[in-house]
């Protein structure tokens, strides 16, 4: 349910955010390999890491001059926080172990992110949110 709300918040600003990302040849989440290649045993860990990534490195650098967009980003971020709390419970109960693959995959995402300046990387990551949501729903 939280993912549904995130998706509806994201759909409301998707075109606006993606229009602010001029670099169409790069991807933060999908380069060089798509999230879909992650083993199911590693999924919880990747989702947990990616939620922390979006909370720590993405939303706060996506402030715009558009009040409506900022409000929707706040909605998404607060929904993320709500889900992150639930994920942390899994993490505490060791049901969210990180294998080598997910560690490597997440390292690559950080490399992609750090390859751009912070604002561009944050806007691009936000613009790719549907990639994460699609993958989460598919692996649900």
């Amino acid at each position: 349910t939280g993912v549904t709300e995130i998706r509806s918040g994201f759909n409301a600003i998707k075109a606006n955010i993606q229009a602010r990302d001029p670099i169409r040849t790069l991807s933060i989440l999908s380069h060089p390999h798509s999230l879909h290649k992650v083993k199911s045993s590693d999924k919880c860990c990747i989702i947990h890491k990616l939620f922390n990534f979006y909370m720590d490195k993405v939303f706060k650098h996506c402030q715009t001059e558009d009040s409506y967009v900022n409000r929707k980003i706040s909605s998404i971020a607060n929904s993320f926080l709500s889900i992150k709390r639930k994920l942390e419970q899994c993490h505490k109960q060791n049901k969210c172990l990180c294998g080598q693959e997910s560690t490597e995959k997440f390292k690559q995402i950080l490399v992609n992110y750090e390859g751009l300046n912070i604002t561009s990387a944050a806007i691009k990551s936000l613009g790719e949110l549907d990639i994460l949501l699609d993958w989460m729903e598919k692996s649900h």
Binding site: E5, M55, D56, S74, S75, N78, L81, S82
Partner: protein
């Protein structure tokens, strides 16, 4: 130096069926039109974004003493809310809601419901309360409460078919709402009972 206006008082939330309103007492200054502006702050803003506040533009410099904050209270986390008053260049301090608001505390009312006997068909029309709502409908043959049946309904845009009735006994129905995002239900509606409309056999 502009004299300070008093901050709005008695700030509170009215929240029913996942629709949330911030209300406050008017600031009254003789012969002046006072305008108000509202801002919100979610848990994300407190923990990750330097405790920043976000203005609600539909409630910027309004004369009403109520603001619909439903659109912005879109996660099950604790929100802070505040409102201030303006008259021209004169501006009050912020008045802040005492305590947080979390949508999990919204009050849920049972749905409006209309039970229909269409020949031998037991049908129900349910009130459309918005995308966040699902409904649990319970129905049974009067006197056989132990054999109560349940149907979960998500789409209420059309009449829901519950059962095919036998001629003779009354059939009773009651319903409650369920909101998945906060994992809570309303109380049940009043029970409504109907009987198959004889003479209009399915075979005619």
């Amino acid at each position: 130096e502009d004299a300070l206006l008093p901050a709005p008082q008695n700030i509170s939330i009215l929240s029913t069926n996942m629709r949330h309103f911030l209300t406050w007492s008017p600031v009254t200054i003789q012969g002046e039109t006072v305008r108000y502006s509202v801002e919100f702050q979610g848990e994300y803003e407190r923990e990750y974004a330097n405790e920043s506040w976000i203005p609600i533009c539909e409630c910027s410099l309004i004369t009403a003493t109520m603001c619909n904050i439903t659109e912005d209270i879109s996660a099950t986390v604790a929100y802070n809310l505040r409102v201030r008053a303006d008259i021209g260049a004169r501006r009050s301090e912020w008045g802040t809601l005492k305590g947080f608001f979390n949508r999990i505390t919204t009050s849920l009312t049972p749905p409006l419901m209309k039970v229909i006997a269409d020949g031998y068909h037991l049908l129900v029309d349910l009130e459309d309360m918005g995308p966040a709502f699902q409904f649990y409908v319970l129905y049974w043959k009067k006197g056989q409460e132990s054999r109560m049946q349940q149907k979960m309904v998500k789409d209420v845009s059309s009449t829901v078919h519950l059962d095919t009735m036998e001629a003779g006994p009354d059939y009773c129905v009651k319903a409650q709402t369920y909101v998945e995002t906060i994992n809570r239900s309303s109380t049940f509606s009043q029970t409504q009972c109907v009987r198959a409309q004889g003479g209009r056999s399915m075979w005619l």
